[in-house]
């Protein structure tokens, strides 16, 4: 009995920690004041002004655009890299894996500045393209790390067996390997997408020409104070993700039946 109560208490505590900040944020998006500390009454004004704020809307567009492209590109590159790394032998594999982990351990600011220096040295004008390249770059190692374990779980002889039975390498990959590693690919793509949406430091140093994503836009508002418009935007983004998750869950359940 006591353990049961403790269990429940613990669950509530965990979810409280995770969701209380989001709840507060959502509540204050309806606050009839610029303050995010004192409740002054209900309003939908912030939602209205959010959609009229061309700078925030443009940043949202760039954020999603960059995240989608970076996630897709990094997933493709990362998956094939993992494929190659898995079939490497001995010290080569260890060496490549270590090289792969360095960007993960590196502070963002180092990655950001060094990419920027590279682009400047190559005379590539900073802008949307450089931001996308930078995002793909820092997403790849995460995709590799999430796909590789799936290869390890797969019987090593599967590929050889498929080739023996007459599959071309491409068919073998598509019909044999891909279904085995699919969960890893999806995880990798989701991680890449999230990291890309989240990133501030690397984006900041590698953008230009009026291209800025949401993290840059929000962070640069700090001097004048974050406006409740941002609360409204975050609430909408949270709801979108929530609804997407619900739909996906329902779909998988139907498929299972």
């Amino acid at each position: 009995m006591v353990t049961k109560i403790l269990n429940k208490f613990y669950t509530v505590l965990i979810f409280g920690f995770l969701y209380a900040p989001i709840a507060v944020l959502a509540v204050f998006s309806f606050n009839d004041s610029k303050s995010t500390a004192k409740w002054e009454g209900f309003t939908l004004d912030w939602y209205q002004s959010l959609f009229q704020n061309s700078y925030i809307m443009k940043s949202l567009y760039y954020t999603v655009l960059v995240a989608v492209i970076a996630a897709i590109a990094a997933t493709i590159i990362g998956t094939f890299a993992a494929f190659g790394i898995f079939y490497m032998k001995g010290w080569k594999q260890r060496a490549i894996l270590n090289v792969n982990s360095i960007p993960i351990l590196n502070p963002d600011i180092v990655t950001g500045i060094s990419l920027m220096t590279l682009f400047v040295a190559l005379n590539i004008e900073l802008g949307l393209l450089t931001m996308i390249i930078a995002h793909i770059t820092f997403c790849i190692p995460y995709v590799v790390l999430s796909v590789l374990p799936k290869f390890k779980q797969m019987p090593a002889e599967m590929l050889e067996a498929a080739l023996d039975l007459g599959a071309t390498p491409w068919v073998a990959f598509k019909k044999v390997i891909y279904p085995e590693i699919k969960p890893g690919i999806i995880t990798g793509a989701l991680i890449a997408f999230t990291l890309s949406i989240d990133d501030f430091v690397i984006s900041f140093f590698n953008t230009g020409n009026g291209v800025s994503n949401l993290s840059i836009a929000i962070y640069s508002m700090a001097r004048r104070g974050i406006k409740p418009e941002i609360n409204a935007l975050s609430t909408l983004m949270f709801l979108t993700v929530l609804i997407l998750m619900l739909i996906l869950n329902k779909r998988t359940k139907i498929e299972e039946i």
């Binding site: 004041s33 610029k34 303050s35 995010t36 500390a37 004192k38 704020n53 061309s54 700078y55 567009y61 999603v64 655009l65 989608v68 492209i69 897709i72 920027m116 220096t117 682009f119 400047v120 590539i124 004008e125 900073l126 802008g127 949307l128 450089t130 900041f204 140093f205 953008t207 230009g208 020409n209 009026g210 291209v211 800025s212 840059i216 836009a217 962070y219 640069s220 508002m221 700090a222 001097r223 004048r224 104070g225 974050i226 406006k227 779909r251 498929e255």
Partner: protein
């Protein structure tokens, strides 16, 4: 199911790319500004009047802006840094000269704000907004009127107030309280300021950044050192707050419009600066941002009740001991060291 998702994703992507690439031959002006520091509606007005399109980007600190401009790789035609940063950028030859003959509306700028020490001839910069640093306090909680930095060393206010978590602004408070210049390069004065701040530390509730407004409104703090713009935002919503300019003097800051070296559209940049100096445009910006304009024509359009308030347009007599930050050059290392010692104590 999977195919549908793929198709939807590809379609959105294509749609995104096509909407993103509307190319035309218009002159595009890259403007680099503090976040939320301009009324973006004026960009449309500017485009209608001149045919020049504005490409807008924002930064959060002078140092970020400096890094981006210095490193190159992207060119900005207009940027709006603060006083000491302009001085530093002039020293490092990062700014284009501004041709004032191309800016007829420059006459609108208050002569008090022309030819300031960091750019004595306005050869490189045109004033945009200005303000002060002072003390804001909640008159419901602090009953004795405050008029000096001394209030921040008064044990009666222990645990009630916050300082700014910014090296030069906080050291400035101590230097000014002791009667020194806030641009001092005298180590003894700096040491004295350090000792004053260390002595004060047990009384300070916290060193804070931009959350200071929320702390004041929620009554977590009763008093705080703030920039005038923040004070104005708080006071306009909650009239029981009072903003004072300490009698020992304080910091007066300026954000000026500049053209970074390497700008491609120098003529268009001049046109834009002239546009910003227009009375009605200045009014739109001042009204949106809420900071104090440097433009006399704009002042005429403002709500007269703002004139003479400490937080927006204070009486000149109150600004007697005020100074503008200058770039300390290599001496900044001493400030860094002092600040670390204060924070570590």
């Amino acid at each position: 199911m999977k195919k549908i998702i793929m198709v939807v994703m590809i379609l959105t992507l294509v749609a995104f790319i096509f909407t993103g690439c509307k190319s035309d031959d218009k002159v595009v002006l890259n403007v680099y500004n503090w976040g939320d520091y301009i009324d973006e509606d004026i960009f449309d007005t500017f485009e209608e009047e001149t045919g020049i399109k504005i490409n807008y980007e924002t930064f959060a600190t002078n140092e970020e802006m400096y890094t981006k401009i210095k490193k190159g790789g992207t060119q900005y035609d207009i940027a709006i840094p603060s006083d000491y940063m302009i001085e530093k950028m002039i020293k490092e030859d990062l700014l284009e000269k501004i041709d004032l003959t191309k800016i007829p509306n420059f006459v609108n700028i208050d002569s008090r704000f022309k030819g300031l020490a960091f750019d004595a001839e306005n050869a490189y910069s045109v004033p945009y907004f200005w303000g002060t640093v002072g003390i804001i306090y909640n008159t419901n909680l602090i009953k004795t009127p405050v008029d000096s930095w001394g209030a921040l060393w008064d044990t009666a206010n222990s645990g009630e107030f916050t300082m700014i978590d910014s090296q030069r602004d906080s050291i400035m408070v101590a230097l000014k309280k002791l009667g020194y210049s806030m641009n001092t390069k005298d180590l003894n004065e700096l040491e004295a300021a350090k000792n004053a701040l260390i002595e004060q530390k047990p009384l300070v509730l916290a060193y804070v950044g931009d959350n200071v407004k929320d702390m004041l409104i929620s009554e977590e703090a009763a008093m705080a050192v703030v920039w005038s713009g923040e004070a104005s935002a708080v006071i306009q919503e909650y009239d029981y707050f009072e903003y004072v300019l300490p009698k020992e003097g304080s910091n007066m800051w300026f954000d000026n419009v500049i053209i970074p070296k390497g700008a491609k559209n120098i003529d268009a940049a001049h046109q834009f600066i002239d546009f910003l100096c227009r009375g009605d445009i200045g009014f739109k910006n001042a009204d949106y941002v809420g900071y104090a304009t440097c433009n006399t024509e704009t002042m005429k359009l403002l709500d007269p009740s703002l004139i003479g308030t400490t937080y927006a347009y204070p009486d000149e007599a109150l600004l007697e001991n005020f100074e503008i930050f200058s770039d300390p050059g290599d001496f900044i290392k001493e400030y860094d060291r002092i600040w670390t010692e204060i924070k570590a104590n």
